[in-house]
């Protein structure tokens, strides 16, 4: 065995440990947040009666629409609203958030694909989303064959060479990467995937349907614990 092999093995082992640790923290956060929201509702003494039915319906609808819109836009905090909806609504809410996430990512992808880049950048500037506009400008300046590399490097992914050979896998990993907020979050990634024109819609749809499953699954598991 070459002396360098030990250090490579140690590096791999550390990388796996770090991944497991990050996933454990994520599960812990979901479980704790779940418990905290339930306790908060109890502590506030809020009573829900049939007379408030219309208010409850409207609030849930508003929350679902808000979540879909925010998630579709780069750098906006949609995930937090999604988590809150799942916590308040329970298992059926998890399914709704899952469907809305797919819808939001399709909207972002469609915007990136159909709206010319300069219009999209102008739109983001008009909405005062300067950070998202700058990101799309830089992304648009990169040649199409180097765009996945650009994204994965910005996200500090250590396994870039492997990912670059599998662009759909790269997309799935990017959606789940804890630091993906740096590249615009789910909405930003989906918009850039559309802009890049490297992804066919049907495969993109299948990939996001599977890629966004971990969080709902964690949530359901946390409910069962």
């Amino acid at each position: 065995m070459a002396p360098g092999d030990d250090s490579i093995d140690a590096q791999r082992s550390n990388m796996w440990l770090a991944t497991v640790a990050k996933l454990s923290i994520l599960v812990l956060v979901v479980v704790l947040a779940n418990i905290s929201v339930s306790h908060l509702i109890d502590r506030l003494g809020i009573q829900i009666w049939p007379e408030y039915m219309e208010i409850i319906d409207r609030a849930v609808l508003l929350g679902v629409l808000l979540y879909t819109c925010l998630l579709a836009m780069p750098f906006l905090p949609g995930v937090e609203i999604g988590l809150t909806l799942m916590m308040v609504l329970g298992p059926k809410g998890v399914a709704i958030v899952y469907i809305c996430t797919i819808v939001a990512l399709i909207i972002s992808y469609g915007m990136g694909r159909m709206i010319p880049a300069h219009l999209l950048i102008s739109l983001l500037n008009w909405l005062h989303l300067e950070r998202a506009a700058r990101l799309l400008s830089r992304f648009n300046a990169v040649s199409p064959d180097r765009r996945i590399e650009y994204l994965t490097k910005r996200a500090s992914m250590k396994f870039v060479p492997f990912i670059l050979r599998h662009r759909y896998l790269a997309l799935a990993v990017l959606f789940n990467l804890p630091g993906n907020a740096l590249i615009g979050g789910g909405g930003g990634i989906a918009m850039m995937a559309g802009m890049s024109r490297l992804y066919s819609f049907s495969v993109y749809f299948l990939v996001i349907s599977g890629a966004i499953l971990p969080l709902p699954v964690f949530f359901i598991l946390s409910k069962l614990l």
């Binding site: 109890d42 009573q47 829900i48 009666w49 049939p50 039915m53 849930v60 059926k92 809410g93």
Partner: protein
Amino acid sequence: MLTLTRFVTLGAALFFFEVAVITADTHLPQSDIIDGLQFQGQTGEHGKGEHHQDTITFKNGRFRSLDCEEWGFGPASYEYKKEGDAFHFSATLPSPDRGTLEWKGTITGDIAEADFRWRHERWYGNIDRRYWFKGKLKKTE
């Protein structure tokens, strides 16, 4: 003498009738039925404090919650059984657009205590909330 006896008998009958009328208004009648009773008291969600006042009635075989009626939960037939001094009752109040309210309670003396459950299926989840009611006998018919 006969007149005096009749007078005393009539007086006694009137006295006992009055007593019966007065006690009927404040105490559970010594019978095996709860029809005609009405209780007024507070209600709230389980594990939480009082929310509002409600009145429940048992009349002509139908159970009503006057407050819930405002939200569309109509009267429904009730079932009951007697166990010792207590009456256990249950009823399911339907509503056209807000699901059902399942009432289960006990009447002991002039106090009615009940738990009720609101169940309603929505597109975003199943509503399943539990509430309590504690009321005092208001009147009998």
